[in-house]
């Protein structure tokens, strides 16, 4: 009987991917021409695991987004009542509002958030009522009318004239309770729709795969056909690396760059033999940061001769190795990590491509983390194949090739198992072109 794979990924009808059934046991390498959908599969996998691991955070972020008009209303009333409250009280409300408004939510219990926000609305309502009851100037009447209009807009009341202020504030509080209730329900349900919404955000085109299913030890844990997202066991964190250029680019342009930047910013000084190999055998130096709390802009490269360089000034290839080194040092890479690397050979000299492949194989062998690689490079493919064999880990390595289908711009992923020659056949088209165009 064939061994049941650790992870099986099945994708059908997604962007350029007609069909792909892919096993991830140790190292999986997919090859194929540009536009064959390798990155689409990589990102599907990444956003799936990311959603699963950050599920509660994502739901709370969604709640925060749904409450944005309530926050804005609170800020408006807070400004309007400035004259009616002491400076201390004004500042206290401002701080509470800021805390609720700016992301403290992800770490808090939803009920606490609900209580705090309703309590804040109660106090704002009281002070606003005091203001409008005591004064009847045109200015105050206009302020009151504006707030009433905003209240109506948020609570979807069509004719605010018929509603009392008190009722409108009551509806705001009901809305808060309802949204929190829904969020609690979503967290308990672990709904697949949260993942599909994340996918729609991640890809510029919002189309979902016709089929997307992930099996762990042969049992489906995630499927677009199943409403609930299960909790994976053998993957417990995921890293997506596509370009060392992310160090100095505007990371906000790419969600996965922001995520990687956050991971790299975690401090840590774990010593690992593989990290030592990167420092001593390959880079002849080490990536360092001065502070305990640093951002990716603060990294320096310290050469073995003691000379220190700003990270921006070092060769891009060093950055590729530095990413692995930092993730090792800060403990991100474990036996339950899935490393997704799109074109690991990017910016590397051929000899460093081999070293990078060797490090991947060692990380898989020594630590047990899994890799999903998309590569265009003959040396990378050969190195993964033959170094794995020498290291005795080839049984966990799988190769795939994207093959054109009869349908234009659509590809099926063929499982090559350990055979890499079909990948070379596709690479060798380049040789034919050189022979055709050259001497």
């Amino acid at each position: 009987m064939a061994e049941i794979p650790d992870i099986q990924v099945s994708v059908k009808g997604f962007r350029a991917v007609a069909s792909a059934d892919i096993i991830v046991n140790g190292i999986t390498l997919v090859a194929g021409e540009n536009g064959s959908g390798k990155s689409s599969i990589s990102k599907l996998l990444y956003f799936l695991y990311k959603t699963v691991f950050n599920y509660e955070k994502i739901v709370k972020r969604g709640l925060h987004h749904s409450l944005r008009d309530v926050f804005r209303l609170s800020e408006i009333i807070h400004q309007e009542i400035r004259a009616k409250v002491s400076f201390e009280e004004f500042e206290l409300i401002r701080r509470e509002l800021q805390e609720l408004r700016h992301g403290k939510m992800v770490n808090e219990d939803l009920k606490q958030i609900e209580e705090k926000l309703i309590d804040l609305i109660d106090r704002l309502e009281d002070k606003f009522s005091e203001l409008t009851d005591e004064e009847s100037s045109i200015l105050v009447i206009r302020k009151k009318a504006r707030v009433k209009r905003i209240l109506s807009d948020i609570t979807r009341v069509n004719d605010e004239a018929d509603e009392q202020d008190q009722e409108l504030f009551g509806k705001i509080k009901d809305l808060i309770r309802q949204l929190v209730y829904q969020a609690e329900g979503a967290i308990a349900a672990r709904s697949t729709s949260v993942f599909t919404a994340e996918l729609a955000d991640a890809f510029s085109e919002g189309d979902l795969p016709e089929k997307f299913e992930v099996l762990e030890y042969g049992s489906p844990i995630i499927s677009l056909d199943i409403d609930q997202l299960s909790i994976p066991y053998n993957i417990q964190n995921v890293v997506y690396i596509d370009s060392p250029m992310m160090f100095h680019a505007d990371i906000s342009k790419n969600i996965h760059w922001e995520d990687l930047s956050e991971l790299l910013s975690k401090s840590g000084d774990n010593v690992h033999a593989i990290s030592e190999i990167i420092s001593k055998d390959i880079m002849l130096g080490d990536v360092v940061a001065d502070d305990m709390f640093y951002s990716t802009d603060d990294f320096k490269f310290k050469r073995t001769d003691g000379k220190i360089f700003d990270f921006i000034d070092i060769a891009t290839g060093y950055k590729s190795f530095s990413i692995l080194q930092l993730l090792l040092k800060n403990g991100t890479i474990t036996d339950k990590t899935l490393m997704i690397i799109d074109e690991p050979e990017s910016n590397l000299h051929p000899q460093w491509i081999i070293e990078y492949a060797r490090i991947i194989i060692m990380l898989n062998k020594e630590i047990g983390c899994k890799f999903f690689l998309a590569s265009h490079n003959p040396d990378m493919v050969s190195a993964i194949r033959y170094i794995s064999e020498k290291q005795g880990t080839l049984d966990k390595v799988n190769f795939y090739l994207a093959e054109k289908t009869d349908q234009r711009f659509k590809y099926n992923y063929k499982h090559l198992k350990k055979e890499i020659d079909p990948i070379f056949e596709s690479f060798n088209i380049a040789i034919d072109r050189i022979n055709q165009y050259g001497i």
Binding site: P378, S382, Y386, E419, I420, D421, P422, I423, F424, E425, F427, N428, I431, I434, N435
Partner: protein, 166 residues
């Protein structure tokens, strides 16, 4: 051009190495070919060049030169033109990074000498790999610096059969 048995045997007699003729299917098994799907008729004789070179070296009391593994005569359809085709078998190669250009060039030179520098050598030299590494071999040949000349060709046994024996 296709394999010409009669011409191959005559050539072997001409150079006095008739005893070095060997059926190609036997030769490739001895060279390490394990693919069961390659079928010859069993009577296609080719020159075992290790045998040829060994006998010459013995006669000249020297160490053997490197040589290609086999040679045979191919002729065009009307038999008007004949050429000696050199074939080297690399069935035991697993990792193509071990293929060295100077080794391959040396074999061609050694074989040419062993056959008394004939002028009618086929312009292409064939290096036969297992089918599952043929494309890697092609890549390796091209990515050597400088690249292997285009007439040194990495093939598998099916290619040889299609080119000369079918």
């Amino acid at each position: 051009m296709k394999y010409a048995k009669k011409a191959t045997v005559e050539f072997a007699k001409h150079i006095g190495k008739e005893e070095c003729l060997e059926p190609v299917d036997q030769l490739i098994i001895n060279e390490g070919c394990i693919d069961q799907n390659i079928n010859f008729n069993g009577d296609e004789l080719v020159l075992n060049m290790d045998c040829v070179e060994g006998k010459i070296a013995l006669l000249e009391k020297r160490h053997c030169n490197k040589s290609m593994d086999s040679a045979f005569i191919a002729e065009d359809l009307n038999g008007a033109s004949q050429q000696i085709v050199f074939v080297e078998y690399r069935f035991n190669y697993v990792n193509l990074s071990n293929v060295k250009k100077q080794d391959l060039f040396g074999k061609v030179t050694g074989s040419t000498l062993a056959l008394n520098n004939p002028t009618n050598i086929h312009p292409n030299y064939y290096y036969v790999f297992n089918s599952n590494v043929k494309q890697q071999a092609r890549s390796r040949f091209n990515r050597m610096n400088p690249a292997m000349p285009q007439h040194h060709i990495a093939v598998d046994m099916f290619d040889i059969k299609n080119l000369f024996f079918d």
